[in-house]
Amino acid sequence: MAQRSDITHKYLRAKKKFPNVWCAGCGIGIVMGSLIRAIDKLELDRDNVTLVSGIGCSSRLPVYLDFNTLHTTHGRALAFATGVKLANPKMHVIVITGDGDALAIGGNHFIHSCRRNMDITCILINNQIYGMTGGQFSPTTPTDSHAATAPYGNKEYPFDIPKLAMGAGASYVARGTVYHVTQLDQLIYDGIQKRGFSLVEAFSNCHTYFGRLNRLGDSVKMLEEMKKNALPLKAAAKMPPDKVQGKLLTGVFCDVEREEYCDRYDALIQSLQGK
């Protein structure tokens, strides 16, 4: 499925925006492929899809795709997306964001979007660093890892993204990686289909900064490491805790039914208008 470039080309703004800004081997392009395949499989009317992003390498993704695309300010994608969705609840609103964008400067919007439970799909590309600005540490940089602003190792503790999203009330929470593409396609597909706020963490590689500063090798090496380190939640459930320690858990962390915000607001309108 990963090589279906005919599908991909159907959705690219091919004549307009290429070459792209990403480093060769960057995982963000893989996430873009997964997103396209998920949308194609869902047969969404592309006039009815809006991609909203913030600022960062990850947030550059929407410009390449032929949908309604909204590249906002750093951290605010979810706030803009909330306005688009509530003003036009029929729109499929998909937010593309990075770990810095969503969890540092946009952390407040992130938790409140989870809580509010609007039907928005948030694809958070977690490369554990600020790529665009040159490798400074982010809220998901592991403790003691190196970054441009953590030359002696990171003194902070990282967010666990699925736990944060679940704690804040998201209806659907999942994590995949850019190595496990078939799974990522499926998680994004399910996330878009879910009625309510869904968060899909796409674990990705920034070999240019995170890889280089931590001697993790090139993108191939980093992808191989993802392959080794990822552990499906279902498998983890059957393993002793010490074997799970330090693994990157993947799969669906939560999938619950909660009435969606726009539906609730629409019901209010109907009742006030006596319909």
């Binding site: 410009v63 695309t69 906002t72 306005g83 688009v84 003003a87």
Partner: protein, 379 residues
């Protein structure tokens, strides 16, 4: 019609004007002294199928109204100084991305948290220069409750026509004082909606540079699938680093407002033909100025009044004409701040005309007597 006459607050008048003007989306965060606007609209908007949302902060509020406007809804937020400070990021975005939005700032005393329940006009310059980068702001300032209603509608109209954020600058006293207002009949006030494209999608450029600098605006969902960004962009909305395209974009943003000053700028003058002294003041202070001018005239002093209704942009040419009135010797600039618009006036008067600042920033209003005393000092 008696039922059309109501005693209402300035903040209620904003909400009333917003409903008349066709508002369909309000995103906000509570702050004194603006909160009533949100509270009223939370009640009224869903009744007409509109949307109200209380966001997690003012940055989110302005983001939400930009998103909603792009989705086709007339959108607004309301705040006061501390919230306006947070909103300037989004206001700059709305300007760059040419998204019609209205931001109401019910001014209170600052700086910082300042005086939540007291009046001030200290955000006058912030309304002009709040966001980073070169920028042409539009800001309107009413002096009465009825005018608050009218200018709310006008702010929405200007936002739609010029595809830009428009600030309505009121203040704590105007927002909370009650006056008798005749609610306009349907059709009495002009309501303008943004121009939509009528070309096929393949021809559409969301940021087209046209001879009159106005570009039709499609909404997300209309089938045009355009790109919007705060990065400097070409006519289709795609980021550019080409100096020719950068210049074209930034010049368009400027021209689309500066070429229409006659439409945008409202200035009221009174008795300027033979005035030796003029009092220049906006908003709530203009009312004291009016009284002071009348008192002075009753004492046979030749005093006139200038009241900017459109605070920004400045219609330099018009002001220069007004201030070159042949007998004019001095202009008193009365403001509830430490001196902001006075620099504008200094810039626009002939050399021989003296500009005198009358400032109050102890949280109380400037009184007619204070202004009259200043007039007497000059004479």
């Amino acid at each position: 019609m008696a039922e059309n006459i109501r005693l209402m607050q300035g903040n209620e008048a904003v909400a009333e004007g917003a409903m008349i003007g066709g508002l369909r989306f309000f995103g906000g965060y509570p702050i004194t002294p603006s909160t009533e606007i949100a509270e009223i609209l939370a009640r009224r908007l869903p009744k007409v199928g509109g949307k109200f949302i209380q966001m997690e902060d003012e940055i989110a509020s302005v983001g939400a109204i930009i998103g909603a406007s792009l989705a086709g809804s007339k959108s607004m937020t309301a705040t006061s100084g501390p919230g306006f400070s947070l909103m300037v990021e989004g206001i700059g975005y709305a300007y760059m991305a040419e998204v019609p939005t209205v931001i109401v700032n019910v001014q209170r005393g600052g700086p910082s948290t300042g005086l939540p329940t007291k009046v001030a006009q200290a955000d006058t310059m912030q309304a002009r220069w709040g966001t980073h980068g070169d920028y042409i702001a539009i800001a309107l300032a009413p002096q009465s409750v009825r005018e608050t209603l009218d200018l709310t509608v006008r702010a929405m109209n200007l936002a739609e026509v010029y595809r830009t954020p428009v600030t309505l600058l009121t203040d704590e006293v105007l927002g909370h004082m009650r006056e008798k207002v005749t609610i306009p009949e349907e059709g009495e006030l002009e309501i303008i909606n943004r121009q939509k494209p009528d070309v096929p999608a393949s021809w559409y450029k969301h940021f087209e540079i046209t001879p009159n600098f106005k570009s039709p605006m499609a909404s997300f969902g209309d089938g045009y699938r355009f790109h919007v960004t705060g990065l400097t962009h070409d006519e289709e909305g795609f980021p550019t680093n080409k100096s020719v395209e950068i210049l074209a974009k930034l010049t368009k943003l400027r021209n689309k407002i500066m070429r229409y000053l006659d439409d945008i700028c409202q200035i009221e003058t009174d008795g300027m033909e033979d005035a030796h002294v003029a009092v220049y003041a906006y908003g709530i202070v203009a009312r004291a100025a009016r009284q002071a001018v009348q008192m002075a005239r009753a004492r046979r002093m030749k005093v006139g009044q200038v009241r900017p209704i459109t605070i920004w942009p400045s219609h330099d040419k018009k002001y220069k004409e007004i201030f070159s009135s042949k007998n004019l010797e001095a202009v008193i600039v009365a403001e509830l701040n430490q001196g902001q618009l006075v620099y504008e006036v200094q810039r626009l008067v002939p050399k021989h005309v003296e500009v005198i600042s009358l400032n109050r920033f102890d949280s109380e209003l400037i009184t007619p007597a204070q202004i009259l005393n200043k007039i007497k000092e000059v004479r």
